[in-house]
Symmetry: D2
Subunit: 426 residues, 4 copies
Amino acid sequence: MYATKEIIERMVADRRHIHKRPEEGWTEFETTAFVVERLRSLGFEVLTGPKILNTAFVMGRDPELVKSAQERARQHGISEALLAEMDGWTGAVAVFDTGRPGPVTAFRMDLDCVCVQETDDPSHEANLGGYASERPGLMHACGHDGHTAVGLAVAEWVKEHADELCGRFKFIFQPAEEGTRGAEPLAESGVADDIDYLVCSHIGTGYKIGEIAVCHRGFLATTKIDVRFTGRAAHAGTAPEKGRSALLAAASCATLLSGISRSAQGDTRISIGRLVAGEGRNVVPVHAYMQLETRGTTEEVNQFMVENVHRIVEGTAKSFDVEASIEPVGHATVLEADQEVTDDLMAIAKEIPFVHKVERNDGITGSEDVTMICRRVRAHGGKVGFFIFGCNEHGHHKGDFCIQDEESLREAFEMDVRFVLRKNRR
Amino acid sequence: MYATKEIIERMVADRRHIHKRPEEGWTEFETTAFVVERLRSLGFEVLTGPKILNTAFVMGRDPELVKSAQERARQHGISEALLAEMDGWTGAVAVFDTGRPGPVTAFRMDLDCVCVQETDDPSHEANLGGYASERPGLMHACGHDGHTAVGLAVAEWVKEHADELCGRFKFIFQPAEEGTRGAEPLAESGVADDIDYLVCSHIGTGYKIGEIAVCHRGFLATTKIDVRFTGRAAHAGTAPEKGRSALLAAASCATLLSGISRSAQGDTRISIGRLVAGEGRNVVPVHAYMQLETRGTTEEVNQFMVENVHRIVEGTAKSFDVEASIEPVGHATVLEADQEVTDDLMAIAKEIPFVHKVERNDGITGSEDVTMICRRVRAHGGKVGFFIFGCNEHGHHKGDFCIQDEESLREAFEMDVRFVLRKNRR
Amino acid sequence: MYATKEIIERMVADRRHIHKRPEEGWTEFETTAFVVERLRSLGFEVLTGPKILNTAFVMGRDPELVKSAQERARQHGISEALLAEMDGWTGAVAVFDTGRPGPVTAFRMDLDCVCVQETDDPSHEANLGGYASERPGLMHACGHDGHTAVGLAVAEWVKEHADELCGRFKFIFQPAEEGTRGAEPLAESGVADDIDYLVCSHIGTGYKIGEIAVCHRGFLATTKIDVRFTGRAAHAGTAPEKGRSALLAAASCATLLSGISRSAQGDTRISIGRLVAGEGRNVVPVHAYMQLETRGTTEEVNQFMVENVHRIVEGTAKSFDVEASIEPVGHATVLEADQEVTDDLMAIAKEIPFVHKVERNDGITGSEDVTMICRRVRAHGGKVGFFIFGCNEHGHHKGDFCIQDEESLREAFEMDVRFVLRKNRR
Amino acid sequence: MYATKEIIERMVADRRHIHKRPEEGWTEFETTAFVVERLRSLGFEVLTGPKILNTAFVMGRDPELVKSAQERARQHGISEALLAEMDGWTGAVAVFDTGRPGPVTAFRMDLDCVCVQETDDPSHEANLGGYASERPGLMHACGHDGHTAVGLAVAEWVKEHADELCGRFKFIFQPAEEGTRGAEPLAESGVADDIDYLVCSHIGTGYKIGEIAVCHRGFLATTKIDVRFTGRAAHAGTAPEKGRSALLAAASCATLLSGISRSAQGDTRISIGRLVAGEGRNVVPVHAYMQLETRGTTEEVNQFMVENVHRIVEGTAKSFDVEASIEPVGHATVLEADQEVTDDLMAIAKEIPFVHKVERNDGITGSEDVTMICRRVRAHGGKVGFFIFGCNEHGHHKGDFCIQDEESLREAFEMDVRFVLRKNRR
């Protein structure tokens, strides 16, 4: 076992520290600071801010929200120097070169939380442990706190065992995974282009403590889109004919979107997850706002959905004589892992004593934006792999999500470290 | 009483003759021939064919249907000479000049039937009398046979009493009233431009034998529109994404059309009366055809509806990536009668012994394309009036529609003749 | 002129006092207190709280909102005694008996504001005068502050001229006119049952300073309805088939509601003014909430709309396998005034020197819930009338609504006082 | 080669004979008679009519159409005796027992044509050969004529080689495959329950001359459904509120059907292939008729679609206050073949000299109702297989569909005969 008691305790403490201060995508200033400071104290070279993001590819980022998050971070003790270095952009990439020839091996973690209220049930893990979210309506209910804690622990292990290792290492702490926003600008920055092996992982997703699944294919390509309709106000009683209802446009649009044709080229999804429209009961509604997403089992079939969305929104705007705007706010693609890494991960998982079930799972129908980094790495000749490590979670994105960090995080740590030893042993 | 037993018998015989050979709009070759020959035999100058129609304004006319109707008329004994004169166009206008100064007084009749199957109930009027429709699926179920018979009788009376009269007379036998198609091209021909007094009438519409209503305002402006969508075929199982469903486009379009905003500027209507779409269960539908109409209590508010129809059809075509075509196939406006004629008609109605109920009715919510001729006459300084004469009809456009012609037709005859005597007595 | 400089100044001051503290429907504790204290100081018997409301008929009242409004009023100095007397219910009725036989003459005012943010444009009337709303998002943008000020002034005048008058007087200060909520429970309390003459009025609505319109018919019957759909959550990527989308149900429902058939029985309206649905982009939406209203030129045709709403909501719930709830939250009927009062008001308006335009207007297509009180008064043998007095308003329910109170309020005061003198002069 | 020149000529002649007289599902009286007489002349025991169909499971059969088809067959020379034996039901099963122990080996053919007009292009195969369809609007454009000809040829071969064989044989000539109607009642008759090996095949579907594909999985489960809505007529101008539009109900229903949620349990389809609604432009439509189908990659996910169809139709009927009826008119399930037969068919295909391409294809996304017979055979312990044999078809269900019968039919003949020799060689 590489996961010593001490390492596990450190991971658990880190995860709980992060859990208390959840930050939504593009606002992870405190979390980034925590990561940066730790990694620098360990002697890593750490890049942050615009150095790891191609901002031309950033989507779904609200400048107002970022500004207030910077202020919050400032008040919570984050140094002006670090805030200035980040320059409004979250995430970090730590680099370490052993000085000896060998592959570039990398791990990717994600930093952001979800907009979910943590339960106040006293029997809930974080309430029992006293590390529940201090920020109302925000919670690490997808386990990214755990991912980050594991990444820090693996980084520390690598530094401590540097003498035994060769090659180089990259630890990617990505912002804004929720909404599949952060991976594309990070990939497009080129920071991952020299990676030979990229190992990605996620906690939970149906797997329990002691279970590991290796994913070779799967995950749905997805595009996140915001749609806004703008109509014209009028009194609903005295002049309805003068109004143009953005609400009715959005309603019809949502109905038509749900009816986009199935495709024989692959399985698809369309979700209109949120719709807010109208100003008052007796006024023809001027504003409508819709959050939606498409998915598909291939990049092409997801694109088919996106094209339909565009056409239907435009057609609806015409039908209802309203203005429409379409804003892409996130994007991920399908997973295409490499046989070598998949085989390695399967083999490693089977070696770990406290892992009692190992399986291949190529049928995950969720989405993960690390696929965008994987695609970039592979386009530059690198190889990628993905595994899921279990926890008994109660369901992701729910207020009672929990991960039993003592038992769960060590699974990922063990996988990562053993992968390092396979590829970068001196 | 001007309606002698002999006149009534002639009207009844004429009406029954026409009733046996119903002809739908733009195909009234036999009926036109009947009218033309009678009027010429009475010594009228009779215009027909393109002389009374501005064909640039013709809508809702199927050249194939016209061609087969000409052939049918030919086989039914209509002379080649008359068919050549008509040149594919139905309707006739008879003119008579007394030679003495006086106003131009005109009456308008309509020639066409509706597409309704006459009942085979033996107790039905036309079955009892042996003059039921010989043409399956076609029937004079709106009483235009009666209108025409009255028009012929009044024309005959005018000729017989020419010595007592002054001024000029026009008897307009309009084609294609159903679908509000024939009046506009007739008006636009200018044939009605010299009219001083135009008296229009309709049988039934809720009024019973012995009842007369004079309409000063009312009738809804209306536009008849055919919409066609053309999509792209594909096998519904193996390649649905390659198809573009004209059926779904039409379905969504129909739904949106029904939701066009009410207007505070006037009452409106939208009716999608027929929809035929698709080729087979397992093929993405290529063709969809919709018959619809708009109405409104003003010309403007009907136009508001028409504009919405256009916009929604175009928006829908965009949304569904199909082609759309919009064909206007009929148009009528609201009734605006002149106080002088309205007063005359009220006064006359009250004089007629066998009319026991007379009322003003400005709230008719059906449509009548004679309003298009009325508008033209008034634009040229003429005055118009409209009355309804009763019959016990069982409902218009139904297979058991009946009019008790002996008792009903004389009401209109009496109104018209007395109007002539008011305006054109020497 | 009865509107002396002193009276006008008092009205203007009262209106501005009220304008600073706008309160939405059912929360008018400060405004009610202001009215009650003034009227009691004048010697009126004043009923408030449950004594003037049949709470079984109350709609559209949020107990939480009321509770926080009580607390706010308390902090703003409203006495515990008065709050206890009101017992959570707003509105007041002041009664005065001259002791001499004569009719019961009544006036109705409304107390509530609308949810509109007052403009910060420095040239705006209330900003110039320093009496702009102190409560963000709330504003007297429909002139009820003016109505109340006029009511107080007329009440004071009546008391001061009591020696010249006979009969009895009622001044009704109704809560929650916006959303047509307060009139029905007030009427159903019976407090208006003994009224012989009820005079109602509204400021503005398109009429300018110096203009008065008397309404004999008009106003649309209306019903305000809240609809909620409850579906079932599911991850939009991994298990869409397990979800039931309340959002799509609401969207389809809104579309179908907009398509309720026009009626030949009268003009109608349907407005879906607000729709909020869904919890997040990638979750099948569980909750949807719709605010809508129907209107009609008759009570029957409005009822036709309401029945269609119910049927469509239920059918939609079935189609989408979601739960639906329908809550009526407001109701008003059409205006049916009495000829006597209408004639009086027309005559009075024409007598007033500073009123330069007087007209009948029976075509108002807005709604007013005083119609519910009118109906009750008439059912008990009383007679009612309604007039509009002008101001140059810039549009109701807008942030720059203004009323030039010095010139406008005296119009209504003069109308009311002269009506009193017509009916209750000793 | 077992397909001798003589056998090929016989197959080609039979196929062309059948091609001239195409008969749609449930009306294959002439084709059945042709098959029955041939097989009886060869000495087979032949069952027909109700003996091979459990009529309780019959769907999509129009008794009027059957009656007129019987009359047509009678006039075309089919004997009264055979018509009486068939008793209104088409299809035949031929049985032959070698008298020696051995497996029951069976082949299934289908008899019906599609409703497609054969092209009049003179270069079209059937026009060149003089055997084009004599029946307008009907054509063997799916190759069932070829299937039947092959079945007859294999049956003849089996009889001629009876001495070399053991076991028993069944040749199933199924009616009404189009619309997936005939297989289920045939399976439910039990006539296939004793089969040990069932070999099924189809011509074309994208494979060219000389190509054979063996299908182990694939084909979509499907349900064919007819939906009817019945509303209430009213004049669209004078009383729209009295009508209930079946057209708008169908339109909304079609829209909602297209929006049935995707499922993560499998791929699905929904096709509304035909919609006919309404009686005339100005009448609220009383009747609407929709033809639709659902499909799915599993029986369960197709059932999910069917349940949604039922719910949406019922909800729509409620929303629009119309009556609805839902009639299932066809059903097929997915293919589940047996490894043994699949392996046999792959091996055999590779042996045939004139077959130059052999592949496995488990991804067919069309539907085939023989899957219902397969399911029944397997439930009784039998094993099944499926292959596709090529032709250069120009697309199924099209007027220029062609099969180059000389070269194509021998592929299937060779496959079947070689299968017999594998399983039933003495």
